[in-house]
């Protein structure tokens, strides 16, 4: 197991370098960060030259990338559009997005799995058909539509919650945005659980559990659920990275100052350090989440052995 983890961590290095270089290349080579600083005005050539030199932009792309990576390792992600360091921007943005993601994951786990179990065990019944239709709607309607609709209904009309989240983003204000963020994944979790449960209810070992005279709740929880949730847990694990990166739309709708919001600002203002810095961290989160899922898989299913 230990060797497996080390090998996986080593494998991450080329993936990490490759993906960060790609982002770096796209942001730096395809835009002009200096021009962006001046907005509509044409920059004074001497000043522009000075800024280029300060930002290490007068070197080759490869050298720039090496320089950037070197700085990352000493914790310097450069300066954001508002003059703050990107690191301090991350320090304020990531906790907010992590809170939002936690809320979303909780929704996925509780509602998604519950709906999946109910529909999986009552296949073909009205509940099943109804929920299945609902998941189809949720999956096919874009998040910004459901987001604005729910914001309008619960935030503006019913006033159950604030339509826009305050800068400190406490948990209670993140419930509705968390739900919006979770919706599509929640629909997938429901379907995945449903299929998995339906498949396993006919499994021989479930029949054995019944034949042993175990009470129904024990058959369902210890035997049926324990097996059926393995693919679901894996899905939710991999979804962590996707949720954090995918929060851009949700954070825009509810004006949450998290990762998605800052990333959006960075792109809008063509601020390379912000974009590259945030994406780099997201890539890292994604890779680690995947490793964690693989390890979790081995814990949940003893037939899987990593060496």
């Amino acid at each position: 197991m230990g060797r497996y983890v080390i090998r996986r961590l080593l494998q991450m290095i080329p993936v990490f370098i490759g993906s960060t270089f790609l982002i770096f290349f796209m942001v730096y080579a395809l835009g002009d960060p200096v021009a962006a600083l001046f907005g509509d005005r044409a920059p004074d050539p001497a000043t522009a030259q000075q800024i280029r030199h300060d930002l290490y932009l007068d070197h080759s792309l490869g050298a720039q990338y090496l320089h950037y990576m070197k700085n990352i390792f000493i914790g310097d992600f450069g300066t954001a559009f508002n003059g703050e360091s990107v690191t301090s921007l991350m320090g304020s943005a990531f906790p907010v997005t992590i809170r939002l993601t936690i809320v979303a994951i909780i929704f996925e786990i509780i509602i998604g799995i519950a709906l999946g179990v109910v529909t999986g065990m009552r296949r073909g019944k009205p509940v099943d058909t109804g929920v299945l239709l609902l998941t189809l709607v949720v999956i096919s309607v874009p998040t910004f539509v459901t987001g604005y609709v729910l914001q309008y209904v619960f935030g503006v009309r019913l006033k159950w919650t604030a339509p826009s989240v305050s800068p400190s983003a406490p948990f209670n204000e993140l419930i509705l945005p968390g739900l919006v963020l979770a919706l599509v994944s929640l629909a997938y979790v429901t379907r995945l659980t449903r299929t998995s449960i339906a498949e396993n209810t006919r499994a021989d070992y479930v029949r054995t559990a019944v034949a042993k005279g175990l009470p129904r709740h024990r058959v369902i929880i210890r035997h049926l659920l324990r097996n059926s949730l393995i693919p679901v847990v894996t899905f939710i694990g991999t979804d962590i990275g996707a949720l954090m990166g995918g929060a851009i739309v949700t954070e825009r709708i509810f004006n949450i100052h998290g990762v998605g919001f800052q990333l959006y600002q960075g792109i809008l203002r063509n601020n390379a350090p912000t974009v590259v810095g945030f994406v780099t961290v997201l890539v890292l989160v994604f890779l680690l989440a995947n490793l964690l899922v693989d390890l979790l898989y081995a814990v949940l299913d003893p037939r899987i052995r990593y060496a």
Binding site: K212, G213, R226, N227, R303
Partner: protein, 342 residues
């Protein structure tokens, strides 16, 4: 009427002579998209304490479905029991509450399934799965249950039980896994064990070992055993009596040695002739011609008539009743006398 009924003669005090388990006129049907499949059409059989009943028959003849109905683990729906009684220790289990039946399962009637690999839970250790019997039914602690599990594993002769109790099913060989299934069935010392083709999934050499173990465990107790198989070869050594099923009915039942000597039903005869035998080495192996009937369209009259070498016109119109052939013997054939005779 079953042969056992006629045997009883004068009415005796019901509880004293009542068999451990008696299935009476059991019907099971499955409602599928293509229609109603009548998997079991009036099965009668009984088992006494300490006795082994072998249930024989081709694939699809309803052996497992009957067993599932006894255990109360039929898929309902699509399954349905429109008719019949299953008397266990004198009480009709089909009239019991779901909770009462659950308490019989595992505790009084246990079942051994064919494929131990798929029948054991892949993500729980065998110790957990064995211990669950004691924890749920007897309220033992996790630790005490584990100790009992190790004892059980010893009893079915799994080498190094103490070291292997925390292993998972996939870490055992096929024979060892089936021993674990047997251990699980034995756990609470039930009165009746139903073994549904317990050796079919195993290698030939291992088959005999597992069969011997089962027979030995049964000999040293008073439990009844229903052994479902389509292998007539193993039956002779272990069974006391045999029930042969065809298309959801019992076509012949008899004490084991009599059926080998002198079958009273053409189907049984066909089955016996299809066993490879040393004294007929070199001869072509006999096979009953044709296929088992489609349960959606069981032939009128005797269900076996399209395949029967002795079929007459009456066989295509009248369903043969189970005729009493002798003491404890019955045959559902219009021409059982002729069959016995030749």
């Amino acid at each position: 009427m079953t042969a056992t009924d006629t045997m009883a003669g004068a009415p005796a005090p019901a509880t004293a002579t009542a068999p451990l388990l008696e299935v009476r006129d059991l019907h099971v049907e499955f409602h599928t998209r293509d229609g109603v499949a009548r998997a079991v059409n009036g099965v009668n059989y009984s088992v006494n304490a300490g006795e082994t009943l072998a249930v024989l028959g081709e694939s699809g003849s309803g052996k497992s479905v009957t067993a599932q109905a006894i255990m109360g683990i039929l898929d309902m729906p699509p399954g349905r029991i429109p008719q019949g009684e299953i008397l266990f220790q004198g009480q009709d289990m089909l009239k019991m509450s779901a909770e009462a039946r659950r308490k019989i399962r595992g505790r009084k009637i246990a079942m051994i399934f064919q494929d131990a690999l798929s029948s054991l839970n892949p993500v729980l250790s065998v110790g957990y799965q064995l211990g669950e019997m004691f924890r749920v039914h007897q309220g033992l602690s996790r630790k005490a249950a584990k100790a009992r599990s190790i004892e059980l594993m010893d009893r079915v002769r799994i080498p190094g039980a103490r070291a292997r109790v925390n292993d998972y099913p996939h870490q055992f060989s096929g024979g060892m896994r089936q021993r674990i299934m047997i251990a699980m069935a034995l756990a609470l010392e039930p009165d009746l064990i139903i073994a549904d083709e317990p050796t079919t999934a195993l290698d030939v050499t291992v088959q005999a070992q597992v069969m011997d173990l089962l027979a030995e465990l049964q000999r040293e107790s008073t439990m009844g055993l229903i052994l479902i198989t389509h292998d007539l070869g193993v039956v002779a050594d272990v069974a006391d009596k045999i029930a042969v099923m065809y298309a959801g009915r019992i076509v012949e039942n008899a004490p084991v040695h009599e059926i080998y000597r002198q079958p009273a039903h053409p189907y049984t005869k066909g089955l016996l002739q299809s066993i490879p035998r040393v004294d007929r080495k070199g001869q072509e192996l006999y096979a009953i011609k044709g296929l088992p009937p489609n349960l959606l369209h069981v032939p009128a009259g005797c269900a076996f008539n399209p395949r029967c070498p002795m079929a007459q016109d009456v066989c295509r119109t009248d369903v043969p009743p189970l005729h009493t052939v002798g003491a404890g013997r019955g045959s559902a054939c219009h021409f059982w006398k002729e069959t016995l005779g030749d």
